[in-house]
């Protein structure tokens, strides 16, 4: 029982490290159902605070003096087992933007971009062990995933008056995910590789003004997340897991009518620290996390640096 919830905790730790942005965020993360889970319901509340940004050449620049920029997200999600080795999930966030500048206040809210996904488990039993006796005890749990980001948010291409109303990027994106996890109690490690491709779309309006139509495709996205966790078994048989993760995300340049847009592309490197508690039945998980973008020159490019505090609760129905 203890081991089956662990993959879920590690998945949350890795996924929580990627938050939203003022340039169009609110994207839902992914959910992973434990191996013998039948369904999972999740609710996460996140508060993201902006602290400057990286320029295109990697220089860290502070936000304008007197500004206080926040985004809050509430993300309900559901995961369900589809077959012995298959599971699917859906997450639909709702986003509140609260922006205070020294000369302007702008609040807005709306749905964020939704995430739909499937996971294929390459294993029949969880691979967590207490002691490594043979080589095969080192076999990890490998998940292969596919995800679709659906542009349910409010983007610059919707009927909006200005940029402050934006809660989504306006693009469908397909992600392929490789997730490798291994637990030798009380330690656990996980690595997640993601490759995402935005689908090209026509654009005929920006910030409410109709423009000469053109075709736009955001750049391909690659991310690497590595996490290390430590698990405590408490006297009441509940479990407490502390996980640290490092995430490196890159997005290539967008293409406008097939030509590269030199003003686009991004890189973000950050860390996430998360703590999760699960009672003896492991059917509930309470968690909190802090995702921190590494401020300073060279840790990112063309992207805001933020801190995100997330509190979440999950309920698992087992087979």
């Amino acid at each position: 029982m203890a081991r089956r919830i662990l993959a879920f905790l590690l998945a949350l730790a890795g996924g929580a490290a990627w938050g939203a942005s003022c340039c169009g965020g609110g994207g839902g993360g992914s959910l992973v159902l434990p191996k013998d889970g039948r369904a999972l319901f999740d609710l996460a509340a996140a508060a993201e605070t902006y602290h400057g940004f990286w320029s295109q050449d990697g220089r860290w620049v502070p936000d304008p003096p007197g500004s206080s920029l926040h985004q809050y997200r509430l993300s309900p999600g559901i995961a369900r087992r589809l077959a012995d080795r298959w599971q699917g999930y859906a997450v639909l966030p709702y986003v509140w933007n609260r922006n205070r500048y020294s000369g302007r206040t702008a609040d807005s809210q709306g749905p964020g971009d939704a995430a739909l996904g499937v996971w294929y488990e390459t294993f029949d039993e969880a691979t967590c062990v207490y002691r490594v006796r043979r080589w095969r005890d080192l076999k990890p749990s490998i998940y292969l995933g596919g995800a679709l980001t659906v542009p349910t948010g409010i983007s610059p291409y919707d009927e909006v008056g200005d940029n402050f109303a934006i809660t989504g990027r306006g693009f469908y994106r397909l992600d392929a995910v490789l997730d490798v996890e291994k637990t030798v109690y009380p330690w656990s490690v996980a690595v997640r590789l993601t490759y995402g491709r935005h689908l090209e779309r026509p654009v005929n309006r920006q910030y409410g003004i109709y423009v000469e139509p053109y075709r736009l495709r955001l750049g391909d996205r690659r991310s690497l997340s590595a996490s290390l966790g430590y698990i405590w078994s408490l006297p009441n048989l509940a479990q407490l897991t502390l996980t640290g993760a490092f995430v490196d995300l890159r997005e290539g340049q967008a293409r406008v009518d097939g030509a590269l847009d030199p003003t686009t592309g991004l890189r973000r490197r950050g860390t996430t620290l998360s703590l999760a508690y699960s009672p003896v039945k492991r059917d509930w998980v309470l968690r909190g996390s802090w995702a921190h973008a590494l401020r300073g020159d060279g840790w990112g490019a063309n992207f805001p640096t933020t801190d995100t505090i997330t509190l979440g609760v999950s309920h698992v129905l087992f087979l």
Binding site: G66, I209, P262
Partner: protein, 195 residues
């Protein structure tokens, strides 16, 4: 019992998606259109219209707190052949655009015939704007930061993060759109300059 519970949750989620799907023009992204609808944008901020009196008289402040207006810029015996107004909120996208403007556009078209303004529509006073301009590397550059003190330019020119406006010497708007990769903006600027 539990299976019907699952179905209930799944149906609720589907219903939520469908309800949200009807919100605020969201279907524009779900089913994006490439139809040319420029004729439907008829505001005074659209290209082809002259700047109205309120826009020309809008109070701007430079990085030293000096007041100026677009009338001051255009209403001289030999005004610049074009003025460029780039709306910035000092964000990463804004900096990428203004860097492109500074490093690519200014060297190509020069400063003798064109004046380039970074229109700050978020700072509350010129000192805050000056600090932001300095942090972003534009203090003393060919791009002149100006504070849109009462938000008139932002409002009347339909400003937004990354929007750029080109106005000719006669005060006629020749371009007003998102900067994107700068190509459409540059084409409009070149046309104004007769290049």
């Amino acid at each position: 019992m539990s299976c019907s519970f699952d179905r209930c949750i799944g149906a609720s989620l589907l219903l939520l998606v469908l309800v949200l799907g009807g919100c605020g023009g969201m279907t524009d992204d779900l089913l994006p259109s490439g139809a040319d609808r420029r004729a439907q944008s008829t505001g005074a901020y659209m290209p082809g219209n002259p700047l109205d009196a309120a826009t020309r008289a809008a109070r701007l402040l430079d990085v030293d707190g000096n007041a100026l207006t677009l009338d001051d810029v255009l209403g001289v015996p030999r005004p610049p052949e074009a003025i460029v107004l780039y709306f910035t909120m000092w964000c990463p996208v804004c900096l990428a655009h203004s860097d492109h403007l500074h490093n690519t556009v200014v060297p190509t078209y020069g400063t003798a015939r064109v004046r380039y303004f970074l229109v700050d529509y978020v700072s509350g006073d010129w000192r805050a704007m000056r600090q932001a301009a300095q942090a972003n590397g534009y203090l003393g550059s060919d791009l002149e930061p100006v504070l849109d003190a009462d938000g008139t330019l932002f409002q009347r020119l339909h400003g937004a993060m990354g929007n750029v406006v080109v106005v000719d010497a006669q005060g006629v708007i020749r371009f007003n759109a998102y900067y994107q990769d700068g190509r459409a903006f540059e084409a409009a600027l070149a046309q104004v300059l007769g290049l």
